[in-house]
């Protein structure tokens, strides 16, 4: 039931109402609304129950194992929230003078430095609001760089076929043509195909390493040399940074620009559409083009770096500097971990993925790249189950919900048929991983003995199997009964 449907004329929650009426005497009469906004009239207890029940219908990292591959659904330590909500940070006005925000600016400057160090880049901008905007920033800077060099013949961005869908979308948004590079049988970029594709028309390449296939791109240095020799730049999609945090640095691999998803790797709120944070790191040659503002430090005071000293900047991407609250949480997370802790993130993310892969393999499941070590995630393919039993990856995924596990990512990457992309993250215990394996084994037995249990799953959730075509085509998202 929607909260609007619980509305009863005249019912209010007076304890929550403002204590004073606002002074509206300086607002012109024609700008004041004359009708009452279409909000529900409910009691405080109704509101509490309604939203508590809604939250209980939700799968979340706070309630369930959430091995959604490529999304890094790990635990957000409560301390990050608590400290980011200290009144001094929370009540800071974004337009306050620099001298009154030195504490916040110092944290942001430190975060820039930490992200530089951990990625091996020359400089970092934190203004992009999320990963997709970070990607846009990166490719827009590649474009600005070529334009500044008078190099207007570069029209193509190379994207491996294992890439996230946002990569080609970003290249197109920035006015480039996308050329797809195939993957070889081992899960690496097909180097011969890449050599054929690289040329004077190449503006750059967008790579994720480790790739979405859950393996580390082993010939990254050769790839970087090939692209650089042709005059192109390398873009690093930071989606899978969790696997290499503190171990290998994209800057050292030869990348010119990288975006990071703080809401994945740096454990800030994630899912439900944000808010996110997609800082971008650059090599020396892209520094002049970075979006603003950036926090500077003159040895005494922290200050905003603006267009006055960066005339070649691609501009601004958010009203102030990204999502301040999310950046604060990432800063606190990084400080709590320290250098040593960063290494352990990568160690355990990789160990957990390889443990899970080994146990599922032993249990009879097929992994997509059995010869390769997993990074922070790996792929199980249910192609055999589909052929022999008519059971698909989607059926497995839906049945996992009945066992109280969020499903792994299904049908991505597109290269692997009937795939589950599984990312346990470093924050799960061995017991939790074992329980997931047991559930997979039981579902396999059900697939063989009572397949209807899978076909009709989920059985225990507030909604049953959705008609995905209708759900995608007939969106019903807005309450339309408010105008009574």
């Amino acid at each position: 039931m929607l909260i609007f449907e619980q509305s009863h004329v005249g019912r209010r929650a007076l304890a929550q109402a403002p204590m004073q009426e606002a002074d509206i005497s300086d607002i012109p009469a024609d700008m004041l609304r004359t009708d009452v906004p279409g909000l529900p009239s409910t009691s405080e207890l109704q509101v509490v129950r309604h939203f508590t029940r809604l939250s209980q219908k939700n799968f979340s990292i706070d309630t369930q194992f959430y091995p959604l591959g490529s999304c890094t659904m790990k635990y957000n330590p409560r301390a990050c929230n608590t400290l980011a909500m200290l009144p001094g940070f929370l009540a800071r006005h974004p337009l306050a003078p620099e001298s009154m925000g030195q504490g916040f600016l110092a944290c942001m400057y430190d975060l820039q430095e930490i992200l530089k160090e951990v990625t091996g880049m020359q400089a970092v901008t934190m203004t992009p609001m999320a990963g997709a905007q970070g990607e846009f920033t990166g490719v827009a800077m590649i474009r600005a760089y070529h334009d500044a060099n008078g190099d207007s013949e570069r029209t193509e961005i190379l994207v491996p076929d294992a890439a996230h869908g946002t990569n080609p979308a970003t290249a197109v948004m920035c006015g480039y043509k996308v050329r797809e590079i195939p993957t070889d049988a081992q899960g690496d970029v097909d180097l011969e195909a890449l050599k054929q594709a690289v040329g004077p028309q190449t503006a750059g390449i967008m790579l994720t390493n480790p790739s979405t296939l859950g393996v580390f791109e082993r010939r990254i240095e050769e790839i970087a040399a090939l692209i650089h020799e042709a005059g192109g730049l390398l873009y690093y999609d930071g989606a899978n940074l969790n696997a290499i945090l503190g171990k290998v640095r994209p800057g050292d691999m030869g990348f010119d620009v990288i975006h990071m998803n703080l809401h994945k790797t740096f454990s800030t709120p994630h899912g439900g559409g944000g808010p996110g944070a997609g800082p971008v790191g650059v090599s020396k040659r892209l520094e002049p083009f970075m979006p603003l503002p950036i926090v500077g430090y003159d040895g005494d005071q922290y200050y905003w770096i603006t267009e006055a000293v960066r005339p070649q900047s691609i501009g601004r991407l958010s009203a102030f500097m990204g999502n301040a609250g999310v950046l604060m949480r990432a800063y606190i997370y990084a400080r709590m971990l320290g250098r040593e802790g960063m290494h352990r993130v990568a160690d355990y993310a990789t160990l957990n993925a390889n443990y899970l892969m080994a146990r599922l393999t032993a249990a009879g499941f097929d992994v997509a790249f059995p010869g390769r070590r997993a990074t922070h995630e790996f792929i199980v393919t249910l192609k055999r189950q589909q052929k022999e039993l008519g059971i698909t990856a989607m059926d497995f995924a839906k049945r996992l919900l009945d066992y109280n596990f969020h499903a792994p990512t299904t049908y991505f990457p597109l290269l692997v048929p009937e795939c589950l992309l599984i990312e346990p993250t470093e924050t799960e215990t061995r017991e939790e991983l074992d329980a997931f394996v047991e559930a997979m084994i039981r579902i396999q037995q059900e697939a063989e003995n009572s397949p209807e249990l899978l076909k009709e799953a989920p059985h225990t959730r507030p909604v049953r199997r959705l008609d995905e075509v209708r759900a995608a085509k007939q969106l019903d998202l807005a309450w339309s009964g408010a105008a009574e």
């Binding site: 869908g165 996308v178 049908y411 995905e468 075509v469 085509k473």
Partner: protein
């Protein structure tokens, strides 16, 4: 076994091409392709009058699983698109080789058709992909 009509030509990217009497080429995606993609929710067709080159992405089929590019099997000018797919994308699932066609090209070089596979070739290609 998938339905692979013998009179059509096939691309490695799973498009089919039918040469019409007037020399134009009708293009859609194969039965195998629609089967693997699953239920279609949206088909983005190219613009009539657009010029495309062979192997250029010029349409998008979006299913509940994924959005995939459809590549032009031959270069030329788009002379007609299947407007009906806007309202009924499921036609691609129900009749991939008939009502589910996506666009029609006037080829600039009909010789490019020679680079495509025949039905036997495509059958073998699918078997190899399915190793």
């Amino acid at each position: 076994m998938s339905n692979i009509p013998v009179e059509l030509k096939y691309a490695k990217t799973h498009e089919w091409a039918r040469t019409n009497d007037d020399g134009s080429v009708t293009v859609g995606i194969s039965d195998t392709a629609q089967d693997q993609l699953g239920d279609m929710v949206f088909i983005e067709v190219p613009e009539v009058g657009a010029t495309v080159t062979a192997e250029e992405a010029c349409a998008v089929v979006e299913s509940v699983k994924a959005a995939s590019d459809v590549y032009a099997p031959v270069g030329g000018k788009i002379v007609e698109v299947n407007e009906g797919l806007a309202d009924s994308p499921e036609t691609v699932n129900n009749d991939a080789y008939g009502e589910g066609w996506i666009f029609r090209i006037e080829p600039s070089d009909a010789g490019e058709l020679g680079a495509l596979m025949d039905a036997d070739g495509y059958t073998g290609f699918l078997a190899a992909e399915d190793h």
